[in-house]
């Protein structure tokens, strides 16, 4: 008997469902994608028990004929592409023909649809992927898909579902992102009490959508940006440093109309905001990227949440420079850089002339004091292009920041970041003098063996910032500040959790109201007890906000909002560890 057999379609769909449908939020996303592809301008989602008992997505899109309705529950039936070549120029959200059959295979699904102008609608019911009823019915124009009892036949998946409130939070989160992707479509999300959790007007104004999804303060403080230079066209809004958060949850990237996560884009943003944003604070951002379809591959992941750029460097550089320009255009922020430009202009012409040169050379003979400093001065004057070019200024900022840098996205990048940033600009000449290893920034921490550091000879301290040591014939430079932070960190970790009393918490002068997303709210509610143990005190405040009343009393002054957003992020990502666990 043959051991290798073709799987039956139900099993195939089950497996596919595992890839496409992770949780109720994925169902919502797939169904909304379908609605958008059907040309809907209004999409209403209502959920019960965090979408586990019921998700209903109704739209006013094009609807389907009876035949199409029957086919749509079958695998790899799709109206969106016909041959593989179509993938190159795909403009619809879906194309794999997997979503609906996959969802149907793990739920009780009811689909009602009516084409505009058609007399009757058509209804199909399925259970675990098998069609159990199909008949004409009354139905509004468009399509209504009702998904009940998600994962009822896949107990393994069901087990991994989180609390209803958390699942509802994920749904609100994904819907918010989709709403930002399509400001021309009105989105509404209702909870089981019929209360509207999210509503966007669909007036094709991105700022209105930002207002609805984020909040008023963020929307009002948004800086617009745009890049019209092909191939990477960019537009959107980035928040001012005042509206920054401690996490990247409010960064939405839309590539060719598709909401995606991309490491390269996140890194580009992180790099471009250096010097404008306080360390580990991140802007809210909605970025629409239009790039020729043939330069991206979206068929990387079944959920289509990731994609591959064929010209990563161009994309990085376009994003980086567009954001830098946008931030620089806002007066008041880069106050130190502005006068520098003026100075550059005034210094340049003066120092180029040959007369000037001869006069500086006579100066050398007259200088008695501080000759090193003066030589330095002259070098500046002779090579103004090096010392004052804007590239240099930027890189100074980076280096300053970089020394404090802990783990960031950029550490995970394969190539040296400099190369990405420097793309359209020429590298500063001075760097060519450096040894290859240094200039390419490829010294990695793994290669640094500091086991013998106790026996190292201390040479001294440079600029009150770096400790210089001689160890086994090599020069070791320690960033004093970073080392100090590390010592404190270790100290905190080593401290035995104080069993008798929790961290004392300092009450705030004025309770701080903070707008948070449904997902974040659900997450912090889940971990409330542990968060309070840490010394925070907070309460729900309406459906979309919390009030912080107290923060942990720690060594240095704590920014309540910043501290709490770090806690939120930890809760949402579930990488939270508490001393008492």
């Amino acid at each position: 008997m043959a051991l290798i057999k073709k799987l039956d379609p139900v099993t195939i769909n089950h497996i596919a469902a595992g890839e496409v449908v992770e949780r109720p939020a994925s169902v919502v996303k797939e169904l909304i994608d379908n609605s958008l592809d059907a040309g809907a301008t209004q999409i209403l989602v209502s959920i019960r028990n965090g979408g586990i008992s019921e998700i209903e997505v109704s739209d006013n899109g094009g609807g389907m004929t009876e035949e199409d309705a029957r086919h749509c529950l079958l695998s790899h039936f799709t109206s969106k592409i016909t041959t593989i070549d179509d993938l190159e120029t795909i403009t619809t959200m879906g194309f794999r023909g997997e979503a609906l059959p996959s969802i149907a295979s793990i739920s009780r699904l009811r689909l009602r649809t009516r084409e505009p102008g058609a007399e009757l609608g058509y209804e199909i019911k399925s259970e675990g992927g098998k069609i159990i009823a199909a008949n004409p019915c009354a139905c509004p124009e468009g399509t209504v898909v009702t998904v009940n009892d998600l994962f009822y036949n896949t107990p393994a998946r069901y087990k991994f579902l989180k609390k209803d409130s958390l699942e509802a939070g994920y749904i609100a989160d994904i819907m918010g992102k989709l709403a930002l992707t399509r400001p021309d479509v009105s989105f509404r999300l209702l909870n089981e009490a019929g209360k509207s959790i999210l509503y966007t007007p669909g007036n094709n104004d991105l700022l209105s959508a930002i207002y609805a999804v984020f909040d008023r303060k963020t929307a009002e403080g948004m800086i617009p940006f745009e890049n019209n230079q092909p191939p990477v066209l960019l537009s959107g809004y980035i928040s001012t440093p005042e509206n920054a958060r401690g996490n990247r949850a409010r960064q939405v990237f839309i590539v060719n109309g598709r909401n995606i996560n991309s490491r390269i884009l996140s890194v580009a943003i992180d790099e471009s905001i250096r010097g404008w944003f306080v360390k580990s604070r991140f802007p809210a951002l909605v970025m629409q990227i239009n790039i020729p379809q043939e330069l991206v591959d979206i068929n990387v992941h079944p959920q289509k949440s990731e994609l591959r750029f064929w010209q990563e460097k161009e994309v990085f550089s376009a994003v980086y420079h567009t954001i830098q320009n946008a931030l620089a255009s806002v007066s008041g922020i880069p106050s130190v850089l502005e006068p520098n430009k003026d100075q550059m202009q005034s210094v340049l012409p003066a120092s180029v002339g040959s007369e000037r040169k001869s006069s500086t050379s006579t100066d050398i003979s007259t200088i008695v004091v501080d000759s090193v400093d003066e030589k330095e001065q002259q070098r500046h004057e002779k090579l103004p292009d090096k010392s004052f070019s804007s590239t240099k200024t930027q890189s100074i900022l980076f280096n300053d920041e970089a020394k404090d840098k802990q783990i960031s996205y950029s550490d995970m990048l394969p190539d040296p970041l400099d190369e990405y940033i420097a793309m359209p600009l020429t590298r500063p000449e001075t760097q060519t003098d450096l040894p290859e290893q240094v200039s390419s920034g490829q010294i990695s921490l793994e290669h640094l063996d500091i086991t013998g550091i106790q026996n190292a000879r201390i040479i001294g301290v440079y600029a009150n910032t770096y400790i210089l040591l001689e160890m086994e014939g090599e020069l070791v430079i320690i960033d004093q500040h970073a080392a100090h932070e590390r010592i404190l960190f270790e100290e905190l970790l080593s401290k035995e959790p104080n069993q008798e009393r929790k961290m004392p918490s300092q009450l705030l002068l004025k309770p701080l109201k903070m707008k948070i997303t449904q997902l974040e709210l659900a997450a912090v509610t889940e971990y409330r007890e542990q968060i309070v143990q840490l010394g925070f005190d907070f309460e729900d405040f309406g459906v979309d906000s919390i009030v912080i009343r107290a923060v942990p009393e720690v060594r240095s002054e704590l920014n309540p909002e910043l501290a709490f957003s770090a806690v939120i992020e930890a809760c949402v990502n579930e990488n939270i560890k508490f001393a008492n666990e």
Binding site: N498, Q506, L508, N559, L562
Partner: protein, 365 residues
């Protein structure tokens, strides 16, 4: 440019303006002090946020201007052998400094490249006694936030209303407010000034004379005669302190300022500076004795002070730093402290007057 002046006066002027010279600027010229010679000598330090000008008299031979590295200039002038200092600058910005038999030659930077200190235009004017303003700054600036991510709280809110000047500082956990009636014409206005600037102003303020304060939409200027301080104002809306100060209280007590301060300082000896898990507890078991105690993994401390108290007995934890800093700036012999239970705001006032109020929130257990 050529002049001769007194070393002592010059050192004083350099010390004053150096406070506004940024030590780590990316713009080289900002490391310098601008020296302008007309009928007097004017020194300027400016870090693009705060600018300080100081004028001094000298024997002027020839007018002119130049920028000299701030630290170098200060170090040289302080160490010059004689009181008489002679400055000379040639057309190539080479400066010669001579005093006694000692002579230095330094290269300066062209004065034209130095950024202009903003002119405070269309300004409103206030005239305040220097001594008063100094006290007001000392009693509030310590309570301003040093967290740069909250720029508004880095400032002190200066409010003039119906002839009363108030300075308010808030860091999110506590509030210090000092009010003073000011004689003369005081236009109603309010603005936020960086606490750092005010601390520099306080250093310059003397015990006699008036300070002229000019404010425009963006800038503030303090004119103290020979010294001017200009600063950018912080834009934004400051918290309304009146809505934070409680109107009622559950308990009030009168206590010696000095005794309470010493008791807090003693109690914090058992709290390691880097360990903030521990607090100082204020507790009453009767209406005439206050116990101040701390218990940590190092040890314990306990002491009792005589008080006059009315209202409910209490048992509240506080961050000792917040009490110590406030008690240090109260010159009065006795303070009146009111409490609102273990979670409500606690307010410290001098007994004699209500010109100064300080509010601090307890630590939650």
């Amino acid at each position: 440019m050529r002049f001769e002046c007194s070393r002592t006066n010059l050192v004083e002027a350099i010390n004053t303006v150096q406070k506004a010279v940024s030590s780590r600027s990316t713009i080289p010229i900002l490391d310098g002090i601008l020296l302008e010679v007309t009928d007097r000598i004017k020194l300027t330090g400016y870090d693009l946020e705060t600018g300080i000008e100081s004028k001094l008299d000298a024997e002027i031979y020839k007018a002119g201007s130049v920028v000299i590295k701030s630290r170098l200039l200060g170090d040289i002038v302080r160490r010059l052998p004689e009181e008489a200092v002679h400055f000379d600058k040639d057309e190539n910005n080479i400066i010669t400094i001579e005093s006694g038999s000692s002579s230095f030659q330094l290269r300066g930077l062209p004065a034209e490249d130095y950024p202009k200190i903003p002119i405070v235009e269309d300004a409103r004017q206030m005239i305040v006694p220097q001594k008063t303003l100094k006290e007001m700054i000392m009693q509030t600036s310590f309570a301003a936030s040093i967290d740069e991510s909250r720029p508004i709280l880095n400032g002190i809110n200066i409010i003039s209303e119906q002839g009363t000047l108030s300075l308010v500082a808030i860091d999110g956990f506590r509030l210090a407010v000092r009010k003073e009636m000011i004689a003369g014409d005081l236009p109603d206005s309010q603005f936020i000034v960086p606490a750092r600037t005010l601390n520099e102003v306080a250093r310059v303020l003397e015990d006699e004379g008036d300070v002229n304060i000019f404010t425009s939409h963006n800038h503030i200027l303090f004119d103290m005669g020979s010294v001017l301080v200009v600063s950018r104002l912080i834009q934004g809306e400051f918290m309304n302190y009146n809505s934070i100060l409680p109107r009622n209280h559950e308990t009030s007590m009168t206590i010696s300022t000095r005794n309470l301060l010493s008791a807090f300082e003693r109690a914090s000896l058992v709290i390691r500076a880097e360990d903030r898990r521990f607090s100082v507890t204020l507790q009453t078991n009767s209406d005439d004795i206050l116990s101040i105690s701390a218990k940590t993994d190092i040890g314990t401390s306990h002491e009792e002070l005589n008080i006059a108290m009315s209202g409910k007995l209490f048992d509240i934890d506080f961050n000792p730093k917040y009490f110590i800093e406030a008690l240090k700036v109260i010159p009065d012999e006795e303070v009146l402290i009111t409490f609102n239970g273990s979670l409500g705001p606690c307010v410290i006032n001098p007994v004699e007057e209500d010109a100064f109020s300080y509010l601090v929130l307890p630590l939650r257990r």
